[in-house]
């Protein structure tokens, strides 16, 4: 009896407390990381006053947010205005229950895996629970009784559900390869095959990550919050601690998308080339570090995107989702299914072809000068009028 209390009560409770608190802290650190990195990309300094080189800026920000006045608009729907941040933070944090941070380890003689649970519908759970967050966004936009918030909330809902479809089809292509919905078993399948699913799933990865960026409302798809037109969109009327809940969940969702991308496409906690023997010296780095390194890389890519891409217009965003990503994801599923007819060999061949095509594409992109630029060059007046 006490054994089952330990394994079904105490250990999951400890994991829940540790993971949620670590994530809440990590979100703070990530804001600092993002601001410093953006500053680097834009050739400026960024926050560098609090602590050594601004390293304590996030602590100062946290305390500032905690002590800020909580403003509820007079004409808002007060109950819903209060509940919306809860609706958005609870799913964002609950997803962490299934993310596979690392394999089984031993603490004080108790063996336990570094994830809270491994259910046979893991991937479906992630898709389902993250989608609940849309309710928080649309309720926040509606309850504020502000025109900006309302438009922001509607846009956000339309954007989130539009990119849900290509994301679902991209994930389905990975299931065809892995033959399971459990996140841990997908990692195991990649180990058995000795092949990260990024190679046969190159198109699926592109689809997944673009949809993931769109679903977390990040640049270049940050239309719901477009500062220049909607003054922060659905959370215009939020302040202080409630506002920080929206921010916290945005970072939590970014980590989720990065972690799922790592698990599905980059072998989760596996080291690179898990079946190549002479690379086994890499095993001295523990699996969880590999996982966190890969997740950090995707977080970096998120911020890199923000520093690089201009924002889409709303009709372009919808066109990209419905007219490009959905047909591509349908085609990708059929392609992967055909390759999977020959099992591992078929997937390896597909992976090789896609990798070569990708490399050739990058090579050509750098070799061939873009046409539009030459047109601009020609239209430029050659002589300066007197």
């Amino acid at each position: 009896m006490s054994e089952s209390i330990l394994y079904y009560g105490v250990i999951p409770a400890i994991k829940a407390v540790v993971i949620v608190l670590v994530m809440a802290t990590a979100a703070g650190v990530l804001t600092l990381f993002e601001r410093r990195l953006l500053a680097l990309l834009q050739v400026r300094k960024g926050p560098n006053r609090v602590g050594w080189e601004g390293s304590l800026q996030w602590v100062a920000d946290t305390f500032k947010l905690l002590f800020k006045e909580d403003i509820v608009p007079a004409k808002a729907d007060k109950v819903v205005h209060y509940l919306a941040p809860l609706f958005i933070i609870i799913p964002a944090m609950t997803v962490f229950a299934v993310l596979p941070w690392g394999p089984e380890v031993s603490f004080f003689g108790i063996k336990t895996p570094l994830y809270a649970m491994d259910v046979n519908i893991g991937l479906l759970f992630v898709l389902a629970v993250t989608t609940i967050g849309i309710y928080g966004v649309i309720l926040a936009g509606w309850s504020s009784n502000s025109k900006y918030s309302l438009i922001g909330g509607l846009r956000s809902a339309a954007q989130l559900i539009s990119y849900e479809v290509p994301m679902g089809f991209a994930v389905a292509a990975i299931i065809v390869m892995g033959q399971t919905l459990s996140l841990v078993e997908i990692i195991e399948a990649q180990k058995r095959m000795g092949l990260w699913f990024i190679f046969p799933g190159l198109v699926a990865f592109f689809l997944y990550f673009v949809s993931g960026v769109a679903e977390t409302n990040r640049t270049p798809f940050d239309l719901p919050e477009a500062e220049s037109e909607l003054v922060a969109g659905f959370h215009t009327e939020y302040s202080g601690f409630k506002w920080s809940m929206f921010f916290l969940s945005e970072y939590a969702n970014m980590v989720t998308v990065s972690a799922i991308a790592t698990t599905l496409f980059f072998g989760g906690w596996l080291r690179p080339f898990p079946n190549v023997a002479f690379l086994s010296f890499l095993d001295f780095i523990p699996p969880i570090i590999w996982f966190l390194l890969k997740v950090s890389f995707f977080m970096f890519v998120y911020i890199w995107f923000r520093g690089t891409f201009p924002r889409y217009r709303f009709d372009q965003l919808m066109a990209l989702g419905w007219k490009f990503l959905i047909p591509l994801s349908l085609g990708n599923i059929v392609l992967v299914a055909i390759a999977a007819l020959w099992g591992k060999t078929g997937l390896t061949v597909l992976g090789t072809i896609l990798t070569i095509a990708f490399a050739a594409g990058i090579f050509l992109a750098f070799r061939v000068p873009p046409k539009r630029l030459t047109v601009i060059e020609k239209s430029r007046p050659t002589e300066v009028p007197a």
């Binding site: 999951p12 829940a16 229950a97 479906l124 033959q179 601690f241 919808m318």
Partner: protein, 118 residues
């Protein structure tokens, strides 16, 4: 069902965080409401109407309806994908037919202009 107990812990923990934060900090944070502060933000202009009174584009509704159609399709694809190594060629042909029907509807919707936001 015992496998799903951690979900409960995570959800409770995720709920405690904001509720406790809001509850405890209510004792410390200032509260000085005034009519201007509590009015909805509208670039400094006084709001002349309620946001709820305004209409919004029917396209949001259309997108929601289309989403239901396509998302139900993905749900059908998932079990097929898990069983794919057992179905193989039969499964492939069947899924191509299934997706083919979806694509017919998709092309129709595209031609009718439901996917164009203008």
């Amino acid at each position: 069902m015992a496998d799903y107990i951690p979900v409960l812990f995570f959800a409770v923990m995720a709920a405690i965080l904001p509720v406790a934060g809001l509850g405890i900090m209510a004792l410390f944070r200032p509260s000085k409401p005034d009519p201007i502060k509590l009015s909805p933000y509208e670039c400094g202009v006084e709001p002349t109407s309620e946001a709820w009174d305004h209409r919004f584009s029917v396209r949001y509704y259309l997108i929601a309806v289309l989403f239901v159609v396509f998302d139900v399709e993905t749900i059908f694809v998932f079990p097929w994908a898990v069983m794919y190594q057992k179905l193989l060629l039969f499964g492939l042909i069947e899924m191509v037919i299934f997706l083919g029907i979806l694509v017919i509807g998709y092309v129709y919707v595209w031609k009718r202009g439901a996917l164009t936001w203008a």
